[in-house]
């Protein structure tokens, strides 16, 4: 291979192809354990290389385009990598790397010979398809890769299809994604009608205006938003993420949701002028998703559902950022545009780091305790110390606390909202308390998650028998955790990766406005904070050592016969919050009165409901089914009436024609 062909873009494409091929090898070659290791051996290096290449393209802000003649009747098939694509390639390769490594320990072919080949295959196909999605410059190609992505995710999701719940989740997911794709098909057909070809129009050259553009925007919002999980198109997401194997959930939540965001951004990049209401819609939708998402997350009892809802929250924050930028563009406010895009994309990158970390952690817990119910865990920090540590870092990060990366992204959005607060009509200022509320609820959620799952005494036998995870599962979590720290301590580093994409989306703003200078100070604070904490920690430790410390049972306030089952459960922890927000997070709590002086055992059930799914989607489907059943009577088996149908059709058509 000559030096000329060894450009980053060609390397990226090669890496993508290799990852898919590795998956294929994992499917075909037997025995399964060998093929899984082989696939990993191919995937890991290619993912690393692809990652580095993507970073190179970002920093050089280079833009590559290839035209392939694919002989399908959709015009030439164009593949391109511009900063936006390169930026979205980062999470793809990152999560692929960590997930593949993690899978070796989490889903070893030796223990699941039946399913492992399929999982390996689709775990290669999914990132490949997503890479193609971000590289596609042709509507048809994007649709194709989009559907491949959706389907591979579906097959990953139904890996354990013997479970009823899994199948239900699979169906719901499949139906949602298919409906979304229908919207996208219309969108791209409209684009084709507007531009005369399936090739994407160049940036800001889409000639559509008025109603057409509005319709396209709505279609894009629906089609891509459904995949991203923006409320209220989120209903498929929790069950899907909860029931997939954890490394698959990590891939779906960490990367696949972002493809929806990518689609929206890509579509917006076509449009020369974007009305104010576009930005407003995005902003409101994002805020709603953030608030409701985290509000639902706080009351969940299933660890993976909780994480899934928090994904909805984070997607909401990202969307908020984009909406902010759109509003800024419409009102000609470059600083808002810059802050919105930078904050949104930075948070996107961060979420792609800590969410997989948390899903890996959750997978580890499920792996070693075999339960997904938070209230059946507990005391895991003593049994799986390292995972507990990295999980703690992830929780801090996702709660948006300094000095971790979650804070960096939200900081930018805060600044954006605050700057708006100084403007004549500070409507956007409302975003500040909203974000504050989101932050507070995130704290509730993750204090509960970490505190109940990892701390205290084991709440069940499984939890008591939990074991530390193997190295291959710990290492990827460590990588993610370190990235969280890096992103928190040195946000400018991550900003370097975000800026090119922002510059592409909003060139004027990127050159015109500036980000708060404080970003460069972050490392200082972070380090100071950590060192100070470390210092105090050492001092206290010395003090404790000197005065000696004894270990005893927890102080039961005079009650001496306390058992682990008397600990505060996750449900109890969040029930207080659920009480405050009863109307929103509708939790079915059954609390029979104890009754007599000497109460018998009273059952107490607590399960948060899937509002949209249970109250809207299901009933509609039921009704449709009933209606269809009514019409089905037409097929009653009476031959002579069938004849009548033909006769009538003939007559009607004849009458119609003349």
């Amino acid at each position: 291979m000559s030096a000329s062909t060894l450009t980053p873009d060609s390397v990226i494409i090669a890496a993508t192809a290799l990852i898919v091929l590795a998956g294929l090898a994992g499917l075909i070659i037997r025995p399964a354990p060998l093929s899984q290791k082989l696939a990993a051996a191919i995937t890991l290096p290619s993912a690393v290389i692809g990652f580095c290449a993507a970073i190179l393209m970002l920093v050089h802000r280079s833009d590559a385009r290839y035209v392939i003649d694919w002989s399908l009747p959709f015009g030439p098939c164009e593949i391109g990598i511009d900063p936006l694509s390169a930026f979205f390639l980062l999470p793809i390769f990152l999560v692929t790397f960590c997930g593949t490594l993690y899978a070796l320990g989490y889903w070893p072919a030796a223990r699941n010979p039946a399913t492992a080949p399929g999982v390996t295959f689709f775990y290669g196909l999914l990132p490949g398809a997503m890479a193609l999605v971000v590289m596609a410059r042709n509507g048809a190609l994007l649709l194709v890769s989009w559907e491949i992505m959706a389907l591979s995710a579906f097959f990953l999701l139904i890996t354990e299809h013997t479970g009823e719940e899994v199948r239900k989740a699979g169906s719901v997911y499949l139906l949602t994604t298919h409906t979304g794709s229908a919207a996208l098909i219309i969108l791209f057909s409209k684009l084709h009608a507007a531009t005369g070809s399936f090739i994407f129009p160049h940036q800001g050259t889409l000639a559509a205006t008025g109603q057409t553009a509005a319709l396209m925007f709505i279609l894009a919002l629906f089609g891509f938003g459904a995949k991203a999980g923006i409320m209220p198109m989120h209903f498929w997401l929790p069950s899907a993420h909860a029931n997939a194997p954890s490394h698959a959930s990590a891939m779906m939540s960490g990367v696949m949701l972002k493809m929806g965001i990518y689609g929206i951004l890509r579509f917006l990049s076509f449009c020369p002028q974007k009305p104010l209401w576009w930005g407003g819609t995005l902003l409101v939708a994002g805020m709603m998703s953030a608030l409701l998402g985290i509000c639902f997350a706080a009351v969940q009892t299933d660890i993976k559902r909780l994480l899934a809802y928090s994904s909805i929250e984070n997607i909401g924050i990202i969307t908020t950022g984009i909406g902010m930028a759109m509003v800024g563009e419409a009102t000609g406010n470059p600083s808002l545009v810059l802050l919105g895009f930078s904050g949104g994309l930075l948070h996107l990158l961060n979420h792609a780091i800590f969410k997989p970390l948390l899903f890996f952690g959750a997978g580890g817990i499920i792996h070693s305790t075999g339960t997904r119910i938070i209230s059946r865990m507990g005391g895991l920090a003593k049994r799986m110390g390292t995972s507990a540590l990295v999980f703690f870092i992830g929780s801090l990060a996702i709660a948006g606390l300094p000095p971790l990366n979650g804070f960096a992204g939200e900081f930018l959005l805060y600044v954006g909202f605050f700057r708006e607060a100084l403007s004549p009509v500070p409507v956007l200022a409302l975003g500040v308390p909203a974000l504050g509320l989101v932050g507070g609820m995130a704290a509730i959620t993750f204090v509960k998650l970490y505190g109940i799952a990892f701390l205290g005494a084991p709440r069940s036998r499984e939890a008591a028998e939990a074991h530390e995870l193997s190295g291959v599962m710990i290492v990827p979590m460590w990588i993610m955790a370190l990235l969280c720290l890096t992103g928190g301590l040195i946000p400018p580093l991550f900003l370097l990766l975000v800026q090119p994409a922002v510059a592409m989306l909003a060139p004027a703003a990127a050159s015109g406005a500036r980000l708060p200078a404080s970003f460069s100070l972050f490392p200082l604070f972070g380090l100071a904070l950590i060192t100070a904490a470390a210092a105090v920690w050492l001092l206290t430790r010395r003090a404790i050592r000197r005065r000696g410390a004894v270990t005893a049972g927890t102080w039961g306030c005079g009650y001496t016969a306390a058992t682990p089952r008397m600990q505060y459960t996750g449900a109890a922890f969040s029930e207080f919050w659920a009480g405050v927000t009863r109307s929103l997070s509708r939790c079915m709590t059954e609390k029979p009165a104890a009754g007599t002086v000497a109460p018998r055992t009273v059952p107490f059930s607590y399960n948060p409901e899937e509002t949209i799914l249970d109250r809207f989607i299901q009933p509609v489907l039921e009704l449709a089914g009933i209606g269809c059943a009514f019409i089905r009577r037409l097929q009653h088996g009476q031959l002579h009436v069938y004849m009548l149908y033909i006769f009538i059709t003939l007559i009607l058509l004849t009458v119609w024609v003349r």
């Binding site: 009747p73 139904i158 298919h178 229908a182 219309i186 084709h192 033909i646 004849t654 119609w656 003349r658």
Partner: protein
């Protein structure tokens, strides 16, 4: 010469199959002659034979498409049948084998005949030949299915004949000597008498429509498809439908040649959408997966008709979709047949977790479902997307939107039937009952090949095929 060979060879095969006494070896005749047929097909595709003396027989691009897709499907079915008939030794397969081969030659005749009269005769022959095939199982249900199938199809085809007569008479009224020759009809189409012409088109639409299974003339379909063996279902859905659609396209050729086909096209669009609507309604909560496939076939003839009505760019899609539908339906019916045999039932109440008992068939059934519902990267997506996008580019927003809505509804309905069948845990076996044998790779290979073709065509369209489709679209007046 080659054409006559293509007509004769299967007939010879049928004769041999009839004479052979051995019920075990007889099925081997099928693959042998299927291969011979494929070879002949390759020959005629490479150098196209000239039209016959009075222009009655000619293999034009459309005919080529129908013929080749059907021959491939037939070959797959023949291969499959060898294994299948081994399971059904209790029943004599003499009639089955001979009828199948005769059907093959009749369908060749359909695809090459340029004379509407001959076309009609050939079509009627196919429907007659299918009757014993549908009745193969020889039980009350299949008997009822056969009766309904046969009567409805005969009535429909009779109506079509009247339509053909009308067309011929319209030439007489137009002061020309009556002809049924396609080429001459197309040439002086504009001069044909309008009233007669329109009536003729409607009669032909209804006639061929009832043979295609357009709603509401589709009523025989679920019964016949549900009760016939998998092979026959595949040939009905893949072959017979295409033949009927070919006849409809012949009519369409004349219609567009008249320069005033708007009404006819609208009629086509309406019928197409109606069929899709019916399919959507009947597929929801369908608990018999073979009947579900029948309705899916109704849906797809609807799509084809709609595409024909849309015209322009959609015609390319229509032709391509015809091919895709034929091959994908083959996969679906054959795998469904395997599942049916493995579980001894085709009711979703009892059939669960097929992928555990018959992994290959289960997987293929699932994949085929995804393909037929137009999910990339399979070929039907390409054709359906072409159709819908051209619907939007030509300004038929309503047709396009309804099309997508019905597709989505159908997808939901079909998914809710297919997923439980394929996935999940298979039913518990009562004590002593042996688990049915896993499906062998040899038996499944033809299905894999068909699926492979669908996959390849979905990613890369071979230039010759593309040329063929283009030429066909041009014949239909859709110059691209």
């Amino acid at each position: 010469m080659q054409l006559s060979l293509m007509l004769i060879m299967p007939a010879v095969g049928a004769l041999i199959a009839w004479i052979l006494p051995d019920n075990r070896r007889r099925p081997l005749v099928l693959p042998v002659f299927a291969v011979i047929h494929l070879l002949l097909l390759g020959w005629v595709l490479v150098d196209t034979p000239p039209p016959s003396p009075h222009g009655w027989f000619l293999l034009d691009p459309i005919g080529k498409l129908v013929l080749s897709s059907f021959s491939i499907l037939f070959a797959a079915c023949a291969w499959y049948s060898v294994n299948y008939l081994r399971y059904r030794e209790e029943r004599s397969n003499r009639i089955l084998c001979s009828a199948l081969l005769l059907c093959l030659s009749a369908m060749c005749l359909v695809s090459i005949s340029q004379n509407l009269g001959v076309l009609w005769v050939a079509l009627e022959t196919t429907s007659i030949l299918m009757a014993p095939l549908v009745y193969f199982n020889h039980n009350a249900r299949s008997l009822e299915a056969t009766w309904k199938y046969f009567l409805i199809c005969s009535v429909g085809i009779a109506v079509a004949l009247l339509g053909i007569f009308f067309l011929a008479y319209s030439t007489i009224v137009a002061r020309q000597d009556a002809t049924l020759l396609l080429s001459s009809l197309i040439d002086d189409a504009p001069r044909l008498n309008p009233q007669w012409r329109h009536t003729a088109f409607i009669f032909l639409l209804v006639g061929f429509g009832s043979k295609m299974g357009l709603a509401p003339m589709h009523t025989w379909k679920p019964d016949a498809y549900g009760e016939a063996p998998g092979i026959v279902g595949a040939l009905l859905a893949g072959g017979l439908v295409n033949c009927a659609f070919l006849s409809l396209m012949r009519v369409y050729q004349i219609a567009v040649a008249t320069q005033e086909a708007a009404t006819f096209q609208n009629a086509l669009i309406v019928m197409g959408l109606l069929s899709m609507a019916f399919a959507a309604v009947f597929m929801a909560r369908q608990n018999d997966f073979k009947r579900m496939l029948a309705y899916s076939s109704v849906e797809h003839v609807g799509i084809l008709t709609l595409a024909l009505g849309l015209g322009k760019g959609a015609l390319f899609g229509a032709l391509f979709h015809m091919v895709n539908n034929c091959l994908t339906k083959g996969v679906l019916f054959l795998s469904a047949g395997n599942i049916h045999r493995a579980f001894g039932s085709k009711n979703t109440a009892t059939v669960r977790g097929a992928i555990r008992w018959v992994p290959w068939s289960g997987a293929l059934f699932l994949t085929g479902f995804l393909a037929i519902t137009g999910s990339p990267p399979f070929a039907p997506f390409v054709s359906e997307f072409t159709i819908v996008s051209s619907a939007f580019t030509t300004g038929n927003y309503w047709a396009g939107s309804l099309f997508l809505v019905f597709l989505a509804v159908i997808f939901i309905g079909m998914a809710l039937t297919v997923l439980p069948v394929v996935l999940g845990a298979p039913p518990e076996l009562e004590a002593g009952a042996a688990r049915p044998p896993r499906d062998g790779l040899v038996a499944i290979m033809p299905l894999l090949l068909l699926m492979g073709i669908m996959l390849i065509l979905g990613i890369w369209l071979p230039p010759p095929l593309r040329e063929l489709l283009m030429a066909g679209a041009r014949l239909l007046g859709g110059g691209q």
